[in-house]
Amino acid sequence: MTSVALLRQITDYANRHDPYPLYAELRRTPVVQDETGPYLVSTYWEIHHLLHDPRLSSDLRNLNPEVARSIGHEEDPNLPPAFIRLDPPEHDRLRRLANRPFGPPHSPRRVYEMRGELDEIVAGLIDGFRDRGQIDLVDDFSYPFPVTVICRLLGIPREDETRFHAWADTIAASVDPVHGTDEEREARLQGVRQARTDLAAFLSDLIEERRRSPRDDMLSAMATSHGPDAEMSLVEMVTTSILLLIAGHETTVNLITNGMLTLLRNPDVLKRLRDDHDLVVPLVEELLRFEPPVQLLPQKTTLTDIDIAGTTIPKGAQVWLVLAAGNRDPQRFPNPDRFIPDRADNQHLGFSSGVHNCFGSPLARLEAQIALTELVRRIDNPRLVEDPPPYRQNAVLRGPRHLGIAFDGLRQ
């Protein structure tokens, strides 16, 4: 197949508003090496198998050294990888420790009990639309909502939130593959390094403070945790909180924005949701399939040669799992390009799968469910201002940069 520039086309900003025809093209060869090196996996079952394959590593220190050099992968001597870029057993230990104050079995009610607070934040943001005929959903709602939530959950002081947003945006942009000249690449890496260093310094001060006087937040819990596992070191707490912050900043925003965009493109579904709030649960799952906030996972490598779908991926190769392509695989989902809010048997890859499945998924689900239900319930006669809307640069964490919505008024 002519993979010529398929990857380049996917990362090309001109195709950001609709990469799905490219993914369909990609699926014609389930596993293919791109001319720039990485192996792209685009069909549902192949992605699913690899996500559960213990021969696939998330630790880029296992890359073939030549490959690592060619993609400009570098180790940060001061900050080791967070658990998303580690393999078991280190991954498992850190994730268990991070999970103690967040989910079952130790904290089964944490997310559930945030519901009241989430309702309040959402109500407050929507109240802010009053007396306006038009909003930018991203800036006025989709971004501030999850960001406020993750900062409160971790325990970041409100007055510092603005600085956090800048750091988070810079670091999140770094997951995209870098094209361009060596100088451009170096300049971008430099910016990312600086942001990580500054954020790390800030967080380690904050963690020390929480250790001395703990509050009811996750940083305090991590700083004072006592369990059967070896406790997190300060550096591990810093890398873990950076990971959670970035994830909280850069993913749910797209889920909510893509959600409203999809609803406004499908007025019949929007009406159904307005009449039947329970529809939101399967609807959010379908959204995670149809427009996943994380389009692909570019951070995997092979511990050994892996034979899959007639191709051998050699040891140490870079592997990209194109989740968004797998989610539209007609071999797995009937009518994959249709948005069916109550789709049956919807085991999508929107939160990935296997040991690295999305850590924050219970929270993201709840946030999206509350946000979409309330937006649809309260905004009277919402209309898209432009379609397609302008997108963010990022191809991996894909979503609109702005989403203009005009409306007639607000309901209570």
Partner: protein
């Protein structure tokens, strides 16, 4: 009404046929739902010997004993209405294959065009009847069993004896410890779970039990239960000559298949279950497959292509669901549209804070290799090998990897696996003997049983070993 013939009358069967399902538990219910889902509009009769609507059993030895869920609150969620006539609290007592008729304990009879048998298994009782009747001696299989045991555990007995450390026994011991009760576990084998998972993994289970404060006695049998003058259990005598004072004993010696009611029916039914083909059709004693009697769930034994086409009987929740769906589909489908039931065995257990899951048939394994994690940390994945191929796998708190090993089993991948994995430790370099006990010895343990190639199975019987 004339019996519906197979040729040309399928539509009539689907429209106005009579289907009887004997066994109203998980498999029976799922089959009924599948029949309706696939458009069967005739009459459907569900026969169950228990008075309860279909309920879920896995919680009975876990959440129920831990006081988290009442015993009568594990009713199975319904996928859809089944519009059936329910004959609950009435056991089936006989089957007339020629007349297509099921006899019930109340003397009534049910005619059928298609019959599905999902009568499952029951707990094997304590072999000494008088001792079994002592107040304080329990088995655990039904929700009534669970309610009674739960009530007794809540009264705070001074010590509980668990006889047999298979999955059920180990889960009960775990629940007792979690409730702060003193527990003695007596196991004939060298370690808990040894029949199902072998000695290497059994040692891990033994360490878990001892660390949780269980008084675990292996290589021991219970030779007698002794009551006081009022008929209350007082103590148990063990084969090493010792005596344990206990107020409660839970007999966990495995299960017996509910096939006695078919004894003279002409069906290929015996102590190991009812033989059926991969399409869930029952064999008669001559080894000829019937076309109107189907079998699913724990009571079925069917040939499995992955395991040399030996007949396999499985006491697995997932097998009951998958088998029921296939059986129901095949009951109302033309032969070309039928599907095989070739479910890969898999089960799970929760005990002592650890989630245990397995795929394949571990007792077939000669060797075991820990491919990920570490036995000593009780978080690991291990593969079992048989004749140079991967035949099974087990995980302790690592269930997310299990799907990969299932693919290895289904592709008959070579054993030991010749590739590196994440989290490979030094102990994972070489396979070791898996340590299964002599399979000719009867055991409480395996939840998977291979029982040869013959559809008739009348020679095998269980004889409790006397100490």
């Amino acid at each position: 009404m004339l019996p519906v013939s197979l040729d040309g009358s399928l539509e009539r069967l689907r429209r106005e046929g009579r289907i009887v399902i004997v066994g109203a538990s998980l498999a029976g219910l799922r089959a009924a739902e599948t029949l309706r889902e696939e458009g069967f509009t005739g009459t459907l009769t569900m026969v169950g010997d228990e008075p309860h609507e279909p309920y879920d059993r896995p919680p009975l030895s876990k959440q129920v004993l831990l006081d988290r869920v009442p015993a009568d609150h594990t009713k199975l969620p319904r996928r859809r209405p089944v519009d059936a006539e329910w004959r609950l609290g009435v056991a089936a007592t006989g089957l007339d294959l020629a007349a297509r008729r099921v006899r019930l304990a109340d003397g009534s009879e049910l005619d059928y065009d298609r019959l599905l048998i999902t009568t499952g298994v029951r707990a094997r009782p304590w072999p000494q009847e008088l001792e079994a009747e002592l107040d304080g001696v329990f088995v655990l299989r039904t929700s009534d069993d669970a309610a009674q045991l739960h009530r007794r555990l809540s009264a705070g007995p001074r010590r509980v004896l668990v006889i047999g450390a298979g999955f059920a026994g180990s889960e009960i011991a775990s629940a007792c410890r979690e409730r702060g009760l003193d527990v003695t576990v007596a196991e004939r084998g060298a370690a808990p779970l040894v029949g199902a998972l072998g000695g290497v993994v059994g040692e891990v289970a033994a360490a878990m039990q001892r660390e949780a404060g269980v008084d675990l006695r292996c290589g021991i049998t219970v030779t007698g239960l002794e009551g006081d003058a009022a008929g209350r259990l007082r103590c148990a005598h063990l084969s090493d000559g010792s005596k344990v004072e206990v107020e409660v004993a839970v007999v966990c010696l495995g299960a017996t298949r509910n096939t006695e009611w078919l004894a003279d029916s002409g069906l290929g039914a015996g102590p190991r279950g009812i033989a059926c083909d991969a399409g869930c059709r029952a064999f008669d004693v001559r080894g000829i497959v019937t076309d109107d009697v189907f079998v699913a769930g724990d009571v079925a034994r069917s040939p499995h292509p992955l395991f040399g086409y030996q007949f396999l009987s499985l006491e697995h929740w997932g097998n009951a669901v998958a088998g029921a769906e296939v059986a129901a589909h095949n009951m109302i489908s033309a032969s070309a549209d039928r599907r095989p039931h070739i479910w890969t065995p898999s089960f799970w257990s929760a005990q002592f804070g650890v989630n245990i899951k397995s795929v394949g048939v571990p007792p077939m394994g000669d060797e075991i290799i820990v491919t990920q994690g570490s036995l000593s940390e009780r978080r690991f994945t291990a593969a079992y090998g048989h004749h140079g191929r991967v035949i099974a796998a087990v995980t302790f708190d690592q269930a997310k990897w299990l799907g990969f090993y299932q693919h290895l089993i289904e592709r008959a991948a070579p054993f030991p696996p010749d590739f590196p994995t994440v989290d490979r430790r030094p102990e994972g370099r070489h396979p070791v003997p898996a340590g299964f006990p002599d399979p000719s010895l009867p055991s409480h343990g395996p939840t998977v049983t291979l029982s040869g190639h013959s559809p008739s199975d009348r020679r095998i019987s269980f004889t409790p070993l006397r100490a």
